[in-house]
């Protein structure tokens, strides 16, 4: 099984040195690491925006910041978190690092295109930062017309930034699709691919097919702002609801661009940390593809109150329920995988369990919102805010952190501290629930989102939510400290500390050499074969540590 030579010493991190060797690298691993750090950076910025917002909401007529600033902050929090953090998120960082390794390939199919994607991402983010500095926008991250047509601030600059970022997304998607089709190791049939690959593959399809629509839509807004062509603004003969159709035609699939990679990570964590073959491999793989396809047909559920016809609303409601089913299947399959496993409670697994808990809440509250008449009441309230944070943060981001912990030893050859890991995971879990669970209640009571002031009856709940967000912030800080600590002082990582079965663990050293594998791996069996021979399992300590 083990084809890792012991000579080691050099790896992709230390083979070449200096900034230029990173800036000009074609190595998917280095590009993945650069994405990872860029995304962390923007996550911190977006997080600070969120904490400011929550602080303002401590009192019903708070005056920490003025209304305009508040509106700018929630816009930027949304725009940064969506377009710079969670859309590229797992796919661009972990996907880049892990996908070729799991396929037994030397690199992605188009390494130069891959580096270009990263530079496009950087360019886009520079545009975004410029728009924040020179004239923060207050349109909401959804840019609804006609408000965005007449809004002040550097709207065009921000739209350009997102336009550019879209290309990064499309190129990465193309690259991954080609890699999966063409660069699988000998013997790796489609159904021998790890489920992480399936998830990223489904995500890539969405990225390639949906992102152009967003690009066109945003370009139309720019045209309308600069040339006064009436497309979306009724004052010029346009249609305001048309914008929402265009926007959500991308942005609903985008929700799955965000969550599918999260599910992909969870599939890996569940099987590795229970040392058990994944339950219903094909069902999980197919459900990723099903989600990807159906997600193109549900955009209208963001628009139940927009004035679209009841017939259209009915169809979108039905299709929305349909897309819930594959997600449910995944949850039950993961549960069944854990059953009779040998479950380690190491840090990545704690995030995996958090995911299962929080994503279940996110999914079930989605059922509330899919129900037509109930959505009418809950639409645009804090209920919706809580729902998508449970999915995006409770789901995707928990999976992201879990995935980073899981692959950290492989990426950097260093072990993280299990104690700090557990502390961080608990703080994040508690802080997150405290911040967002009360928001379900506020939304049911009729607290609309994006409110600078609010009715006094909501004050206590808002305060709970704000203190929760501070706790969550501390939790993320602990995670960050743990990672920095691991980089500086972490113990050297063995090649396969968690006794996983996929190629990146079994056939490469930690960290891998630049060309990934000493010899081309050949695959003879399915991805999650744990075998019967007894061996000791490292990293089992979990909560005992």
């Amino acid at each position: 099984m083990s084809a890792i030579s012991a000579h080691a010493g050099t790896n992709y991190l230390n083979e070449k040195k200096g900034i230029w060797s990173w800036a000009s690298t074609l190595d998917h691993k280095r590009i993945g690491v650069m994405y990872l750090f860029s995304i962390f950076f923007f996550f911190l910025i977006g997080g600070v925006f969120a904490l400011l917002l929550r602080t303002q909401l401590l009192s019903p007529a708070g005056s920490l910041i003025d209304a305009k600033t508040y509106n700018q902050l929630f816009t930027l929090h949304g725009a940064v978190m969506v377009f710079l953090v969670i859309v590229p998120g797992i796919a661009a960082s972990l996907g880049n690092f892990v996908l070729p390794l799991q396929l037994g390939a030397k690199d992605v199919a188009f390494p130069r295109l891959n580096l270009m994607s990263y530079y496009i991402y950087v360019t886009g983010s520079i545009f975004a930062v410029c728009s924040i500095i020179f004239g923060a926008i207050d349109t909401g991250w959804t840019f609804y017309a006609p408000y965005s047509i007449s809004a002040q601030g550097k709207v065009t600059l921000m739209l350009t930034a997102i336009f550019i970022l879209g290309f990064s997304s499309i190129f990465t998607g193309l690259n991954f699709i080609t890699t999966v089709h063409k660069l699988r190791a000998p013997g790796m049939t489609w159904f021998r691919m790890p489920l992480f690959v399936w998830g990223i593959y489904a995500t890539s399809i969405l990225q390639v097919m949906a992102t152009p629509v967003l690009a066109i839509t945003l370009a139309l807004i720019v045209v309308e702002r600069t040339l006064s062509v009436g497309i979306f603004n009724p004052a010029l003969g346009g249609d305001a609801v048309l914008f929402q159709h265009f926007f959500w035609f991308y942005s609903h699939p985008a929700v799955y661009i965000m969550i599918l990679p999260g599910m992909a990570v969870i599939s890996e964590l569940v099987t590795t940390f229970s040392q058990k073959k994944i339950f219903g491999y094909k069902m999980i793989a197919y459900s990723s593809i099903a989600i990807a396809l159906i997600s193109f047909l549900v955009w209208g559920h963001h628009m139940f109150t927009s004035g679209q016809s009841p017939l259209v609303n009915m169809l979108f409601s039905a299709l929305t329920f349909l897309v819930a089913i594959p997600s449910g299947i995944k949850i039950f399959n993961w549960l069944a995988t854990l059953f009779k496993g040998s479950i380690s409670l190491a840090t990545p697994m704690l995030y995996c369990l958090s995911f299962l808990f929080l994503f279940t809440i996110g999914g079930l509250t989605g059922v509330f919102l899919g129900t037509l008449s109930v959505d009418i009441h809950l639409h645009d309230t804090y209920f919706v805010v809580a729902h998508f944070h449970y999915v995006m943060v409770g789901g995707t981001f928990m999976a992201f952190i879990g995935g980073v912990y899981y692959w950290w030893p492989k990426m950097f050859g260093k072990m993280y501290s299990e104690k700090l890991g557990i502390l961080g995971a608990l703080l994040v879990f508690l802080g997150f629930n405290m911040t967002f669970f009360v928001q379900f209640y506020m939304g049911s009571q009729g607290m609309p989102r994006r409110y600078y002031n609010y009715l006094e009856q909501f004050q206590t709940l808002h305060q709970v939510s704000t203190f929760g967000s501070y706790l969550l912030g501390v939790g993320f800080l602990v995670v960050l400290i743990n990672w920095i600590h691991a980089l500086v002082k972490g113990a050297p990582a063995p090649a396969n500390p968690f006794h996983a079965t996929t190629l990146e663990w079994t056939h490469t050293q930690s960290p891998p050499i630049t060309h990934n594998f000493e010899v081309q791996p050949v695959v003879h069996h399915e991805p999650y074969e744990y075998g019967d021979e007894p061996h000791s399992i490292h990293g089992f300590q979990g909560l005992k540590a």
Binding site: Y147, G307, P310, L372, Y441, S444, Q445
Partner: protein, 338 residues
């Protein structure tokens, strides 16, 4: 459905029923809360169906020694998988039908509904009663409606998208420029209920409030009479002051010299104002009139052009009233100019 309602009241104490959602105050609200509680209970059960096994499995199968292997490597079970594909399908189909039928009821208004016309604009609601020939408007405006009678709102927006939301009635509808949207409800509780804007519309989005006052038939008739007589015989400056709040001028123009989104009215009358075009103009009766009717013509330097037009919404007497009100804030009483 009635039986279900009774059953639910037996399971869930009455005070709980009203604690998660705001006090239901329309016929539709009672129906909706039934479905809402059905969702809370069934989704709660589903949540437990995932989380309790998860917890038990983690406790039971936790790795205790380094050599502990999984007890089984079984990776499929056709019947279990069919079960958790099929059962959610049935459950979701029920929810879909229930939600959809209820929504249809919300969509089709009875023929005898009292019709009101609503206009949304930054940042206030104005409501016209076409039959009664009265209107109410302004931040915090009171929209009176009689109890136990369906009301239908025909709505449109003057600028950006707003959304008319009455939590107690469980109704919400976007108010879109360039088209009409409608909503209806039948109030069955007396009292005052907040109206909120639920679609983000700019700086003072969270101040775009009004209230619905549900009254008995007699009280409603009195209210209508009162509204009709209100604007007659009021001295001009007083009428102007009323309109100042009612039309929403108050959102952007202060009367104490503080700067909001537009110049303050205090001491502005008779002043020379620098315009964005570079020219200067004296603020007199004609300037104010033009600003009210064709606001885009001139804009004071340093301020965004956000003022909406009030063409067709103010009478000649209203304009004079506003002019006199602004004048009174500059300590000028005599009528100047034309």
């Amino acid at each position: 459905m009635e039986n279900l309602n009774e059953l639910l009241k037996m399971i869930v104490p009455r005070e709980w029923l009203f604690s998660v959602m705001p006090l239901p105050s329309s016929t539709h609200a009672n129906d909706l809360d039934l479905l809402y509680w059905f969702l809370i209970i069934t989704c709660g059960i589903l949540f437990l169906l995932v989380v309790v096994p998860l917890f038990l499995i983690v406790v039971r199968y936790r790795r205790k020694t380094v050599h502990q292997r999984a007890e089984s490597q079984k990776d499929h079970n056709f019947w279990m998988e069919s079960l958790w594909t099929f059962l959610p399908f049935v459950y979701l189909a029920i929810l879909f039908m229930w939600g959809f039928l209820q929504y249809l009821g919300m969509y089709v208004a009875p023929h005898d509904a009292l019709e009101l016309r609503v206009i949304g604009q930054k940042w206030q609601w104005s409501v016209d009663y076409p039959k009664e020939e009265i209107s109410v408007a302004g931040v915090g405006a009171t929209i009176a409606i009689p109890i136990n009678r369906p009301v239908r709102l025909v709505m449109s927006s003057q600028d950006v998208i707003h959304s008319f939301f009455i939590p107690n009635m469980r109704v919400k509808q976007d108010v879109v420029p360039g088209r009409y949207t409608t909503l209806w409800f039948e109030p069955n509780q007396l009292g005052e209920f907040p109206v909120l804007c639920a679609e983000y519309c700019g700086d003072l989005h969270s101040n775009m409030l009004a209230k619905v006052q549900v009254m008995t038939d007699d009280a409603y008739k009195n209210w209508v009479e009162e509204q009709k007589s209100q604007n007659q015989n009021v001295p001009l400056p007083e009428l102007g002051e009323k309109l100042y709040t009612k039309l929403g001028c108050v959102a952007c123009h202060s009367t104490d010299g503080s700067i909001k989104l537009a110049p303050s009215f205090k001491g502005i009358y008779g002043k020379m104002e620098e315009l964005t075009s570079g020219a200067s103009m004296k603020i007199d009766d004609n300037y104010i009139r033009n600003k009210l009717l064709t606001p885009t013509k001139h804009t004071a330097k340093g301020y965004p052009q956000i003022m909406p037009s009030f063409q067709g919404r103010v009478s000649e007497r209203d304009i004079s009233g506003i002019v006199e009100f602004i004048k009174s804030l500059s300590g000028k009483q005599a009528i100047e100019g034309g």
